[in-house]
Symmetry: D2
Subunit: 422 residues, 4 copies
């Protein structure tokens, strides 16, 4: 069995940062944990990690390298299963190398032992059906008990692993689009609900609330509600908790926010921008339900109008479930635009990528950056992280190049946080 990585560290004090993943058995979670351990053990280069490049290399981030690793992973999931199973399925689909799954089986098993039953309130029908008996039992006990259980799990994680700090990151399947519950409209309403939880709140927000109460920074990599409601954000500010979301920008939206500014810069008129996505993993299956699909496509569509304003005619986004693609997604964008003297031209893009391989490094980037931000006393929405999200909280800038400039400015700020280690 692999020796724990922290033993390998020499000199200085141990720092242990716990990363608690909601949706711990999903493809993105599995790839994240597998990849972090592969990098930590020197079995893979940090390709795809933004924080593995300058200027981020100079920040005092939780260590993740061949010599040293400060990260420990655990999490919640509503399903049965093991990270090894999930990892082998990804290897079969050609997303991760089988040799890594083999080499890191002990690390995956250790991670599996830290996964606790999650809860699915307001989730899609598919997620409801997939619940384990333990998850059903927790949900049946009601939301107050569920919240208490989540907090106990976080506390136990911290103690058993000797963690100094924790980050909670949401990677669970997209929830159906829902109205913001009245109980989440103000911080006081949230506190009142804690005393007497009446109307249910979606799981994604329940977890966000747990993170706030536990004082852990929170990242919402999904399009679900999470910490979005004003009451939760207000409470996070009061408690000094930094957070950011929503919906990791991994594929089509990334390309859109890279390309759309060019049309603006060159004063082209975008007559229509039509995008079609097909993917085959569980995320795709969940998105086969119209309400979840609407939650996802709305964000994708709005980036275009936010960047292009009235230089955009119409836009269209569709996501369809095509099982044969497994974790791969393919996307087609057809951009019809008008140039000089009304000449009509078009640009087409096809993108084929592995969903989890695109998402996982960003998850690692985000937890490392927000952990440092928390240590530096930052709180509320970390808008400097906008470039990582399809619909960044509290941000009106959607163009990727401008968001990258924001990230570099943010890095400059984080660089001023005093180091904890010599």
């Amino acid at each position: 069995m692999n020796a724990p990585i922290r033993e390998e560290r020499d000199g200085g004090e141990d720092v242990r940062v716990g990363i608690w993943i909601v949706g711990a058995l999903g493809d993105v979670a599995t790839t994240t944990v597998l990849g972090a351990h592969a990098i930590a053990r020197g079995l893979a280069p940090p390709t795809g990690l933004v924080t593995a490049r300058r200027p981020f290399l100079d920040l005092d981030l939780a260590a993740l390298g061949p010599d040293r690793c400060d990260l420990v992973f655990g999490g919640h999931d509503v399903r049965e299963g093991s990270p090894q199973q999930a990892a082998w399925a990804l290897a079969d689909a050609g997303v991760v190398p089988g040799r890594l799954v083999e080499a890191l089986k002990d690390d995956l098993a250790a991670y599996g032992a830290r996964i606790r039953p999650g809860v699915a309130f307001g989730s899609s029908d598919l997620v409801q059906r997939l619940q384990s008996a333990a998850a059903r039992a927790r949900a049946a006990a009601g939301q107050a008990d569920a919240l208490a259980a989540i907090l106990r799990d976080l506390e136990a994680f911290k103690e058993s692993e000797g963690l100094e700090r924790m980050v909670v990151v949401a990677l669970a399947s997209t929830e159906p689009r829902a109205e913001v519950p009245a109980a989440l409209e103000t911080a006081d309403a949230v506190l009142a609900w804690l005393d007497a939880p009446a109307a249910p709140i979606p799981s994604s927000s329940l977890y966000a609330l747990a993170a706030i109460l536990a004082g852990a920074p929170y990242v919402n990599f999904t399009p679900s509600l999470g910490i979005t409601p004003a009451g939760l954000q207000e409470l996070a500010l009061r408690r000094g908790v930094p957070h950011m979301g929503n919906d990791g920008k991994t594929g089509q939206t990334l390309i859109r926010t890279v390309l759309a500014p060019m049309f603006l810069a060159r004063n082209f008129k975008v007559l229509s921008w039509s995008g079609f996505n097909i993917l085959g993993n569980r995320d795709g299956e969940v998105l086969d339900e119209p309400a979840a699909n609407a939650a996802k496509t709305e964000g994708k569509d709005s980036v275009l109008s936010r960047i292009l304003g009235d230089q955009l005619g119409t836009s269209l986004t569709r996501i369809d479930y095509v099982p044969s693609l497994q974790d791969w997604k393919a996307a087609w964008d057809y951009i019809h635009f008008e140039g000089f003297l009304g000449t009509r031209m078009h640009l087409e893009l096809t993108w084929r990528g592995a969903d989890s391989a695109l998402a996982a490094p960003l998850v690692i980037d985000l937890v490392r950056l927000i952990d440092l931000a928390a240590r530096g006393g930052r709180k509320g929405p970390q808008t400097g992280l906008a470039c990582f999200f399809n619909t960044p909280l509290g941000v009106t800038e959607y163009a990727f190049p401008a968001q990258m400039a924001m990230l570099h400015a943010y890095a400059d700020e984080l660089a001023r946080i005093p180091a904890t280690k010599v």
Copy 2:
């Protein structure tokens, strides 16, 4: 017949800025002149013009609008032909609307009357074959006489049109790749050559030299040598002439410089970037000759390595002549890249655009901006204009977003030039 546009101006003094086009009967030149008149007469919106957007709207640029037009066009061409013929051919290919060609026939005819025989030294075989008798006669008289003739044409243009200022812009067909002649290596060598022109220099540089001697700002929208040689640039500085080039960034390279920075930002490894272009206009025909083709593709290829550095594996660019496409070009880019844990993904783009409709508005932008720069006393390479070129002179920044930031900074400087009109 259309009344000259300057008559329509009311108030203030007339400002007349002459735009002298080398390659005056080409598709880009024709579209440029047609489009400028269409906008000047209110027959077309300024779609595609960067200078028609903020912050450039606020600059004291030569007027081009429904009410007022300061631009007058003339030029050289080695071929026989009329702008009307060229414009109808573009209309038949669907590049410009026939109604504009019809409505602006008088303006095109007036422009045609200002076109003088050009000279083709060191040009491709195709260009050599296409020369008119007048062009052949000029070339036969040798380079000293040719240069004198060009300078006389510029002087005559200035006088007959009552011009206050002039800009020379190179839009002629790409020359075969050539070594820099020794006579162009220093300003003194250039001056010595003027006294005793021994070894020939390429036409594109002869025109650049003429512009310098005439004190006119010079823009090289082609990949030909032009003002690139150190001696010409030095002489331009001495004479206080601003200039910029090379090779207008209209299509595939534009997209490449927009997309490549994303791969860098996300720390992807670009394994290979392969690009294929097909086009059917005279530019394409000229590029069917290997030496001209090499001159063009080299620039396209190098932008990728300049942006991606060692995150680029291999790159490949091909341009082929497919007559049926006429002025349209189609391009395919296949980007093979590696992400997290070595996962291999790809992005494909297809672009279909009308070459001349993409180029013409940039030509108008460039002549207006460099004219203002000259009026403000700027000289030498105008690096702030880098975003308009595939291989910008004196610039190491190839990423389009960064080049746009440079352009905005440049606009801020130009904004400080005092206005000439009330």
Copy 3:
């Protein structure tokens, strides 16, 4: 004004074949009529016409050529409007040349004068809204009166134009998917309904019934119900009327039925075949309504499973309305397939074509072929014409190459029909 074409004929007796178009002001109808007249007057070559190639050139089809034209067009439409307007809109969209619209304005006007108010029973909401007052009045009178009016229109067309034969062709917008009415299940039920029309039948079937009663061959180029119900087909057989449908095979389905047999021949396993269509004409607008969309996409999807059988995993087809494309449609097909030793590969297609320019020549082919078939005494579904349809009536063969062999065999049969002219 253009002289009528039939005057130009020399020798032999006049043959006049009336083509009655349901949906006479639509884009396909307009392009059909414009194109037929352009060919008849020698203004355009017959590119796109299958019947302009061997062996069809040798058949005794109604004449359509520079010297002679036997076709006369008329039709029904529920909208106001003129063919000239419709044609200019198509010219603006780059689908037909403006010079043809100008040159053939008299022919278009003459056609316009032969258009009568149509009826829209069971049509989409959009079609309902677009109805003219005359169309509303006809519909308000009930289906029995509407049928009588249609029959009177056909009779009047025949008399006023001196027609020897007639063909009815359905080109109207797709109707929402509907159950087959009980009244159309047997020929006797149809006859009973004629005596006492109780429950309504869709317009498309009402027109088909009118064609049968008028003894005119009937072609359904749309996915609407038309003559599909068993009772109508039975009645057509009794009355000796030939017919064929449904849904002209113009774009994506054509390509699919060309490509899918290759996967079968090479024993590849098609894991998934996903197709996305965007188009911007009225057809696209009608298909924006879910019920009409379902009627259309079902046919497109089923061809794949019919050709590939259990070598097909899943398939998916979407049609979306993107107004900027006008009459143009763009389509993306993503074919994911498995080859030797389980290797997974893919093929992608993008198709960009003008819907009406693809459809119109096939309409001309069909009316000429079915007219000859009727003259030769053929009745019932003309399965030899399967290659022209997405969902050919009475045919189990969906592979295009096999359907082309059927068409050639059909041509051999038609070649045996004695000529009427010397």
Copy 4:
């Protein structure tokens, strides 16, 4: 170690058919041998094998199935190396599953033991450089000795493996385009050359000659000269040897011969058909040399003009070497065509496939079919196999659907050959 498969056969007499591969260590050869053993041992289904479908299942072909395998592989190669190494490289590139390489290592080793040094006369520079010492020694001895050595190798293969029949199949890298040597112009010239070999002949033809002299059916899966010269074909007829070539139809040309007939059937005018291929295996590397590239692209281009005749404007084909793609190839076809009333439309295809996985099953199909043909006494070019080749010998039909009809007719003939087993 795996027991030899023939031991598993029960009843009847053993039939052993030897397949002698020229280019035995190449990717296609390796995949062919690996795949045949995988199918023979029941480890993989016969996906991609044409002969695994009806009506070919009913032919008395050499057995290849879970219960029984009549095929034994050996061959020549100019390089050092082992099939296992080659197979693992293919597994790393995702072309074949690693588990098969592991499971079949003994079969691969046995195959490796049957590989003898090849000779490279007239080969590309790359192939020359890659030669093993043994290959160099054979070549240095001259062509007469080389031919004798090849014949001895074939004889030894037959004896040591107890073969009843043999097939020679050419899978070596493409040779540079060469003129047909005078010595190969007639059978008598060939025989004279055998007596006194003066001017050298290309290796591919030397191997073909060896096959003829050994009485073994010969398949040329490459674009090299092989048996193409008239003298070799004449000699094959005299000696009663069946053969077929050239250049296996695996990718872009397959698609072209499937699609092009549609443009003809619908009477579209193909204005231009432009195709670009990129691939990264040794074949691609060899094709990086202009002469080899010309040999390959010429065939790809000519199929279009042969199918479309004067309905084709221009065509263009390029193949480029992009190492990162390894055994994968990507291709883009841009088809610009004209339809009704001159409307210009286009169709684009992108194909991404594993070269060897596309080729290998066809190699197995071909050797099984030509072996049966030989047993049935057929000789000369087997034109019924045209559908497997880019430039089929002695065939003017290039359309894939028509070629498939030819193959089915050929299968009917082969079905009449009496079975050898009960």
